[in-house]
Amino acid sequence: MIPLFFGVALVTFAVLSLVGDPFAQMAINPRIRPEDIARLKHAWGFDLPWYLRFFKWFWSMITGNWGVSIFAGGKLVTELVGRAIMYTLRFSIASLIFSFIIAVPIGIYSALHQYTFFDYFFTFIAFFGMSMPTFWFGFILMMIFGLRLRWLPIGGVMSPGIETAPFLVRLLDQTKYMILPVIVLSLFSMGSWMRYARSSMLEVIKQDYVRTARAKGLPERTVIFKHALRNALIPIVTLLGLSLPGIISGATITETVFSIPGMGRLTVDAMLSNDYPVAMVCLLLESGLLIVGNLVADLLYAVVDPRIRYS
C-alpha cells in the first residue's frame, strides 16, 4: 500500500509538471521584477531539479506543511482545503447515506418480488438514475424548483447575511440549500445500488443453502432475513467501502452546477490556474482516500465474510 501511494504521488506530480510553469504569467507581467520572481521561485523550490523538488514536496506533504497557495493571495493551503472539504463532505456523506438507505431496501424488495409492478417500476427508476446526466438533471431541477416554483434556492450554500443568525436558523437555511444538490448527487448511486442489491439478492435466493434452510422448516422470514440477506449484503458492503473515495471528487460537477465552493471546484480551479501547492494537495488527498477506501473495502469484506478471514 505504501509503494502504491508513492507511485500515485509520483504520477500525479509528473502529470502536474506538465501543466507548466506557474510563474510564466508572472514573467510576462512587466510590473514584477525578475529578482522577485527568482526569490519566489527559490521560496517554492522551483529552482531545484525535479527529483529533488519531488522529495522536498513529498516530505512536506507528509509532515503536514502544506504551504501557501500561489494565487489565492498567500492563504494557507490548509485553510483553503479545510473549508472546501467541509462543504464537500457534508454533501457527499449526506448523499451516500441517503442513497444507501433508500436504494438497498428497495433493491432487495424488488428481488423478492420479481416481475411485479414494483419491480418493473423501480428497475426503471434505477435505470433512469443511471442514465441521467447529473449536470443536466441539476439544471432541470434548478429550473423547476428554483426559477419556476421558487421553493428552493438555485445555488450556493447559504443565504447571504445569515452568518449572524442563531444556530438553528442557520442549520435550517443550509439544509434548504442542500436539498437539490444532494438529490442530484444521489441519483446515479441510488440507481446502481438498487440494481446491485437486487441482483445480489436474486443470486443468493437461488443458492442451495436457502433451499436447506427451507427444508429445515424455518419460517420464511428467517430464511430471507437471516440466511439470504446476510449473504446478499456481503458484496454491497464492500461496494460501500469502495465508494468512500468518491466522497471528495465525485461531487465536482454537482458543485459546479450549484456553485458550491467544495473540493471539486477547488481542485479544478487550482489546476487551471497552475496553483501548484493547492492542486497537489487536493490530488494527493484524493488519491490517498482512494487507497484508503480500497483498504477499508478489503477489511469490511473480511469482517463480513468468514471465508475470507482465515485465508
Binding site: K216, R230, Y310
Partner: protein, 333 residues
C-alpha cells in the same frame, strides 16, 4: 420381511412445470409407499423426476412448478392439502432432507453449530443451552471428531464428507420419522461415500426412521434399500422389494439398467457391456404410448399407442409394461 405400517403413501402424484417453452410433466402419476423403518430406493437417470418428487413431498416446489394432482399421505394426512404454516412445522421435524452438494448446502456465513441449533430451536421448545448440548451430541453421533471444537467452525473449514455428516446431523436433529436423501453421496468420492452410507444405515437401525433413498446408482440401492421403485420420465415403471427387482427384473428398462452394470461375468466372457439404446426423451416432446417404447427391444404396436398401467405381476411386485413375460424369457436365456 415383515413391513411396518405405512408411513408415506404417494398416490398418483403429478407435478408439472409451466415454462415459456411448454409444459414439462416432471412427475406424471407417480405412486409408491414407504413403510415405517424401511428404506425405499428411488432409482432413475437424470431427468426422470425423482428429485422433483422429493421436493413435492416437502412442498418445496418452486415456480414455475406446481403440484397439479395426486395425494401425498404422510402419517394419515394429505400433505398437498396442508397450509404453508402446517407444512413448515413438519419440515425438519418429521421429515428431514439432505441434498447432493454439501459444499453449497450449508450457509457459509454461519457456524456449523449455529445452523444445527437453529433447526432444533425452531421446532422444539428447549433452551439454547440444551440445544447446544444436543447439537454436540448429534455431531458426535454422526461421527465428527472433536465436536465441541467443530461446533464453532464454519462450513468452509470442513471437508466434503464432514459437511455431509453435518447435513445429516441437521436433518436428524428433531428425530424425524422420514429422511429423504436426494443423491446425498453422489458428490463425494468413493471411500467417503461408503462411510456416509454406513453412517446412514447405522442411524437408521438406531432410530428406526424410514429413508427415501434417491439415487441413480444401482449398486448403492442394492446395499441400502429394502424396497426399490424405478422411475422413468415421471412415472414409476417397476416397484418391489430389493431381491425381486434385482433377481427378477420385469421391466425392460430395469433389465437394461441392471445389465449395464459391469460384473465379473462380463469381464470374463469379454462380452460388450450392453447399454440401453437411445436417450432419455425430450421433456417437451414425449413419445406417444409407453414413454420407453423408442428404446425398448420388445416394443410392439400396442406399446406405441397405449400407456400401460402399474400392475401386480407377483405379490408385492408391480410393473408398468405390456410384456413383462418377454423380459423373463430374455433373462433366462
Amino acid at each position: 420381511m415383515e413391513r411396518g405400517e405405512v408411513l408415506l403413501d404417494v398416490r398418483d402424484l403429478k407435478t408439472y412445470f409451466f415454462t415459456d417453452d411448454g409444459v414439462v410433466k416432471a412427475v406424471d402419476g407417480m405412486s409408491f409407499t414407504i413403510h415405517k423403518g424401511e428404506v425405499l430406493g428411488l432409482v432413475g437417470e437424470s431427468g426422470c423426476g425423482k428429485s422433483v418428487a422429493s421436493m413435492s413431498i416437502m412442498q418445496l416446489v418452486d415456480v414455475p412448478g406446481k403440484i397439479v394432482g395426486g395425494e401425498i399421505i404422510f402419517k394419515g394426512e394429505d400433505l398437498v392439502k396442508k397450509t404453508p404454516e402446517q407444512m413448515r412445522k413438519i419440515r425438519g421435524a418429521e421429515i428431514g432432507m439432505i441434498f447432493q452438494e454439501p459444499m453449497t448446502s450449508l450457509n457459509p456465513v454461519y457456524t456449523v453449530g449455529d445452523q444445527i441449533m437453529e433447526a432444533i430451536l425452531v421446532h422444539q421448545d428447549v433452551s439454547e443451552e440444551e440445544a447446544k448440548k444436543k447439537t454436540i451430541e448429534l455431531l458426535r453421533l454422526v461421527g465428527i471428531p472433536e465436536p465441541e471444537r467443530r461446533f464453532n467452525q464454519y462450513p468452509h473449514e470442513l471437508s466434503g464428507g464432514m459437511r455431509q455428516r453435518v447435513m445429516i446431523a441437521m436433518a436428524m436433529s428433531c428425530n424425524p420419522d422420514l429422511l429423504i436423501s436426494d443423491e446425498a453421496t453422489t458428490a463425494l468420492d468413493v471411500t467417503i461415500q461408503a462411510q456416509i452410507l454406513e453412517l446412514m444405515k447405522d442411524l437408521q437401525r438406531k432410530t428406526g426412521m424410514a429413508i427415501l433413498f434417491i439415487t441413480h446408482d444401482l449398486a448403492l440401492v442394492a446395499e441400502m434399500a429394502n424396497s426399490v421403485a424405478v422411475a422413468y420420465t415421471g412415472k414409476i415403471v417397476e416397484y418391489g422389494d430389493v431381491y425381486s427387482i434385482f433377481k427378477r427384473p420385469r421391466h425392460p428398462y430395469t433389465y437394461g439398467l441392471l445389465s449395464s452394470v459391469p460384473s465379473l461375468k462380463t469381464e470374463k466372457t469379454k462380452t460388450p457391456l450392453p447399454a440401453i439404446e437411445g436417450m432419455v426423451p425430450n421433456p417437451y416432446r414425449m413419445p406417444s404410448g409407453c414413454h420407453f417404447n423408442p428404446r425398448c427391444p420388445f416394443a410392439t404396436e400396442r406399446c406405441r399407442k397405449e400407456m400401460p398401467e402399474l400392475a401386480e405381476i407377483e405379490p408385492g411386485h408391480l410393473v408398468r409394461c405390456f410384456h413383462p413375460v418377454a423380459v423373463e424369457k430374455e433373462a433366462n436365456a
